[in-house]
C-alpha cells in the first residue's frame, strides 16, 4: 500500500454503521467475527482411515451440512479404522428468529409466599405431590432439588412450602408404584425426573408411565410434569405430560405451574378433589 492508497474504506467516524450491531432478526446467521459470516465449528469421527481422501470426505460432509469454504483444520487417526476431524466453515443457513416461539410451562414465576397465598385462597387445602425418579433411573439430585426442603442454588424445594404435602419416592421407582402411591394419597400432581437418555430410555420410561396412569384411570385427575437435563416443555407435551422442565429449573417454576394449572382446571370444572 502506498501512502496515496487509503488503508481500508474511509468512514465518517460519527456514523456508526448500524448493520454491524443490529442483525436482521428475520435472517439470523452464526457470527464469528463479522456479522453474517456464518462461522460454525464442527467435530465428528468418520469410520475411515486418515488421509487425503478422509479429509476430503469430511469436507464434503460439511458441505452437505451447508457449510461454505469448509476447512478441515484437524484430522487425526484415532484408530486404524476411525478418523477424527475438526472443521470450520460458513453456514449458508439462517433462521427467522422473529417468528420463533418457544412455549414455556410458566410465564411469570411466583414467589414462594405468593404460591402459598394462592393455594390458601384458591384451594383452601394443601396440595399433594408425588415425586419420583422412575424405572431404571437413579439420578435423584434433580428431583430432590425440586422437592427437598433444602432445594437448589438457594431456592428452597416444595417441601418448604406450606401449601404442599410432598411424597418423594426416590430413585428407580417402577411406574406402577408411582401410580399406586398417587392413588393412595389422592395426589394432585405427579412430578417425574428422567436423566439417563441413552438409546432414548427416558422416552420409553415416560411413555410407559402415562400408559399406566391412563390404565389406572387417574391421568386426567392429576397434573403430570416431568423434568431433566434433556427435557423441555414441548417434548413433555408431545409425550402426554402437562409440562416439562429443563436445566436450571427451580421449585418455584414448577410450583407456579401446578397451582396455575389446578386453578384453571378448578375454574373450568375439571378439578374434583376435596380438602
Amino acid at each position: 500500500m502506498k501512502p496515496g492508497q487509503k488503508a481500508g474504506g474511509l468512514i465518517n467516524p460519527d456514523q456508526k454503521p448500524e448493520g454491524l450491531i443490529s442483525p436482521d432478526l428475520t435472517r439470523v446467521m452464526p457470527y464469528g467475527d463479522s456479522l453474517n459470516d456464518g462461522a460454525v465449528q464442527l467435530s465428528f469421527t468418520l469410520p475411515v482411515p486418515p488421509g487425503a481422501r478422509a479429509k476430503e470426505a469430511a469436507r464434503q460432509l460439511a458441505e452437505k451440512m451447508g457449510l461454505e469454504q469448509a476447512q478441515v483444520v484437524h484430522m487425526e487417526g484415532i484408530d486404524p479404522r476411525f478418523t477424527f476431524f475438526v472443521v470450520y466453515g460458513r453456514s449458508r443457513h439462517w433462521v427467522d428468529y422473529s417468528i420463533i416461539k418457544a412455549p414455556q410451562a410458566v410465564k411469570q414465576v411466583m414467589s414462594k409466599q405468593d404460591v402459598d397465598a394462592f393455594i390458601r385462597t384458591k384451594f383452601g387445602r394443601r396440595l399433594r405431590i408425588v415425586g419420583a425418579c422412575i424405572e431404571s433411573d437413579a439420578h435423584t439430585v434433580g428431583i430432590d432439588a425440586i422437592l427437598n426442603m433444602k432445594g437448589y442454588n438457594g431456592h428452597k424445594g416444595l417441601e418448604s412450602y406450606h401449601g404442599f404435602e410432598v411424597h418423594n419416592l426416590g430413585a428407580q421407582v417402577p411406574g406402577a408404584q408411582v401410580a399406586a402411591k398417587a392413588i393412595q394419597v389422592d395426589a394432585d400432581a405427579i412430578l417425574i425426573s428422567q436423566v439417563v437418555t441413552q438409546k432414548d430410555i427416558h422416552l420409553t420410561n415416560l411413555t410407559k408411565l402415562v400408559e399406566i396412569l391412563e390404565a389406572e384411570g387417574i391421568r386426567e385427575r392429576i397434573v403430570l410434569a416431568v423434568g431433566g437435563p434433556r427435557i423441555n416443555h414441548q417434548l413433555a407435551q408431545e409425550l402426554g405430560y402437562d409440562a416439562g422442565f429443563g436445566p436450571g429449573t427451580y421449585a418455584g417454576d414448577v410450583a407456579t405451574f401446578i397451582v396455575e394449572e389446578l386453578a384453571t382446571r378448578l375454574e373450568t370444572g375439571t378439578e374434583q378433589k376435596g380438602g
Binding site: S136, A138, V141, Q172, V196, K199
Partner: protein
C-alpha cells in the same frame, strides 16, 4: 491416623460378627457357580438362581447350596451342571433327594471346589505372566469407560482407547442391572447408559483386550462392577474370566441403591474374598458421596469410608496392594483456591494409604454442556493427579454432562491426560507444600474430622450409624431396602461353604 484405623477396625469387627453368622441367596448362587453351574433354562432364567431358589423355598438354604448340590450329585450320579439343568427342567427337586453321607458330600465338594480355585489361580498366574511379558503403563494408570450398551461396539471403542494410551478399560453396566437379583446371560447388545455385565461379555472383552495388548505391547486391565444384588456372583465371573479390577464397595449398594444393608454386608464379604484371591484390585465408591454431598464439607466422610473399606477388605483377605480406595475431584470451580483443597485431599489419601493403588475420580457434577471448559476442568484434575501420584486415574470426559463417551471423547481425554502427565511427570517431586499453609492445614483438619466421625460410628455401630444418615446424608434402615429376603441365618455348624477356607487360606500362603 492410628485413631482412625483403630476405630474403623472396631466398626468392622462388630459388623463382621453379623456377617459371619449369615449367608445370602447371592452368596449361594456364587457358590453354585463356583461349583460349576452356568447357563440358563429355556425361559432364560439363570440356573444358579433356579437351584438356589428351589432350596430357599424349602427353607433349607441355611445349610448352604453346596450341601444340596453335592447331595444331588451323589444321589443321581450326574455332574453339577447336569443336575442344575434337571432342576431347571423341573425334573429334580434338590431337597427331596435322599440324604447322602456328610463325609462324602464334603469330599465331593472339596474336589469340585479345588478345581475351580485352581482355575482362578491359573487366571491369576496368567495375568502375572502377561504383565511380565508385556509390561504395563506408568502410574497413574489411564482408566476409561466404554458404555455403548452393545458389547461389540464396546470392543471397538475399547481397542481404540488402548491404542490411544488407555491402561484400564471399564465396561460400564446398564442402568438398573445392580437391582437385578440375577446375572443376565450371553452376549448383549442393548443396554442403557452401559452394557450388561454377563460372563460372555466379560469373555468377549477380555479376548479383545488381550489382542490389542499384544499389539501395543502393554497389558491392559479390564474392569467391571462387582456391586448390586449379585456382588458375589460377579466376583466369580470376574475371577474366572480374568478381570483385573472390580468396582466393589462395602456400603455403596446400601446408600446409593437402597439395597438392604444386611444383604450388602454379607455379600461384600464373600465377594471380596474372591476378588482378593483372584488378584483383582477392588475400587471403592467413596467418590459417589461427592456427587450428592458438598466436597468441601463432606471430605472427611470420604476418608472415614475409606478407612472402613480398608478394614472390610483386610478381613476378607484383600491385601493393601489391591485396595483401590476411591476419592474424587469434585470441588466447585467457583471456590477461590478450591484446587488447593483438592490437592490437600489427594495428597492426604496418598499418604495415609501408601501401598494402595488409589482410584481418583474426575470432576463430574460440575461438568456442564460446555465441552471446551470441560477439557480445562479435566486438565486440572490431571494436574492434581500427577502432582500427588495417584494410582488409578479415571479420565474425565469433556462430554460428561451430555452422553456416555463417544470414540472421539475418549481420544480427546486420553490426549489431555497424556500431555499433562508427560509435561509434568516429576512436578510432584519438585514441589514442597509450605509448612502450616492452607494445604497442610486443610489435610490436618480433614483427618481430625474423620477420626471424630469414625469414633462416633464405632460407638453407635455401623448399621445404626447408617440408619442415622451418617453417609451421604442418606438414612437406610436395617430392615429396609431391596434384597432382605435373600439374607439367611446360617445353620451354624451345619452350614457348609467349601470356598471360604480355600480363599482365605490362599491368602495366608
Amino acid at each position: 491416623m492410628n485413631k482412625c484405623r483403630e476405630a474403623a477396625g472396631k466398626i468392622v469387627q462388630e459388623t463382621q460378627k453379623f456377617i459371619e453368622a449369615h449367608t445370602t441367596t447371592s452368596v449361594e448362587r456364587a457358590v453354585a457357580r463356583l461349583l460349576g453351574i452356568d447357563g440358563v433354562d429355556s425361559q432364560g432364567v439363570p440356573l444358579p438362581n433356579l437351584v438356589v431358589e428351589q432350596v430357599q423355598q424349602a427353607g433349607l438354604l441355611n445349610k448352604g447350596i453346596a450341601y444340596w448340590l453335592a447331595n444331588g450329585v451323589l444321589a443321581l450320579g450326574m455332574t453339577v451342571q447336569e443336575l442344575a439343568v434337571r432342576v431347571g427342567e423341573g425334573q429334580v427337586n434338590l431337597v427331596k433327594l435322599p440324604s447322602q453321607g456328610i463325609q462324602q458330600i464334603r469330599e465331593i465338594c472339596a474336589g469340585l471346589a479345588v478345581n475351580t480355585v485352581k482355575e482362578i489361580s491359573r487366571q491369576r498366574s496368567r495375568r502375572e505372566e502377561l504383565l511380565r511379558e508385556l509390561g504395563e503403563g506408568q502410574q497413574p494408570y489411564l482408566y476409561v469407560i466404554v458404555a455403548t450398551g452393545n458389547i461389540y461396539e464396546d470392543v471397538i471403542q475399547a481397542q481404540a482407547a488402548v491404542r490411544q494410551g488407555a491402561d484400564i478399560i471399564a465396561v460400564i453396566r446398564s442402568t438398573g442391572q445392580s437391582l437385578l437379583d440375577y446375572v443376565p446371560y450371553g452376549a448383549t447388545t442393548e443396554g442403557f447408559g452401559g452394557t450388561f455385565a454377563t460372563r460372555e461379555n466379560f469373555r468377549i472383552m477380555r479376548k479383545a483386550l488381550d489382542e490389542v495388548a499384544g499389539e501395543v505391547g502393554r497389558y491392559v486391565r479390564l474392569t467391571n462392577y462387582c456391586s448390586g444384588l449379585c456382588m458375589p456372583e460377579i466376583a466369580v465371573m470376574g475371577a474366572l474370566e480374568r478381570l483385573d479390577v472390580m468396582l466393589n464397595d462395602s456400603m455403596y449398594g446400601i446408600i446409593f441403591r437402597d439395597i438392604n444393608m444386611q444383604r450388602t454386608f454379607v455379600d461384600q464379604y464373600f465377594s471380596r474374598m474372591i476378588n482378593g484371591y483372584s488378584g483383582i484390585v477392588i475400587n471403592t465408591g467413596e467418590d459417589n458421596y461427592l456427587t450428592t454431598a458438598d466436597a468441601v464439607e463432606a471430605a472427611h466422610t470420604v476418608l472415614a469410608s475409606q478407612f472402613i473399606n480398608e478394614q472390610f477388605a483386610l478381613v476378607s483377605g484383600v491385601p493393601e496392594e489391591q485396595m483401590g480406595l476411591g476419592h474424587a475431584f469434585e470441588i466447585t470451580p467457583e471456590l477461590e483456591d478450591g484446587f488447593l483443597l483438592e490437592l490437600a485431599q489427594a495428597q492426604l489419601v496418598r499418604e495415609i494409604f501408601p501401598k494402595a493403588p488409589i482410584k481418583y475420580m474426575p470432576p463430574t457434577k460440575f461438568m456442564t454442556g460446555n465441552i471446551f471448559q470441560g477439557q480445562v476442568q479435566n486438565a486440572l484434575f490431571n494436574v492434581a493427579s500427577i502432582m500427588t501420584g495417584q494410582g488409578i486415574h479415571l479420565l474425565g470426559m469433556l462430554t460428561e454432562a451430555i452422553h456416555t463417551p463417544f470414540l472421539q471423547d475418549r481420544y480427546l481425554s486420553l490426549e489431555n491426560a497424556r500431555y499433562v502427565f508427560k509435561t509434568m511427570r516429576h512436578l510432584g517431586e519438585e514441589l514442597e507444600f509450605k509448612e502450616d499453609g492452607v494445604i497442610q492445614n486443610r489435610a490436618g483438619e480433614v483427618l481430625l474430622k474423620a477420626a471424630g466421625l469414625l469414633e462416633e460410628i464405632a460407638q453407635l455401630g455401623l448399621m445404626t450409624a447408617i440408619s442415622k444418615g451418617y453417609f451421604g446424608d442418606i438414612s437406610r434402615q436395617p430392615d429396609g431396602g431391596k434384597g432382605l429376603s435373600g439374607v439367611i441365618r446360617k445353620a451354624d455348624s451345619y452350614y457348609y461353604n467349601p470356598f471360604i477356607k480355600l480363599f482365605m487360606r490362599g491368602r495366608d500362603e
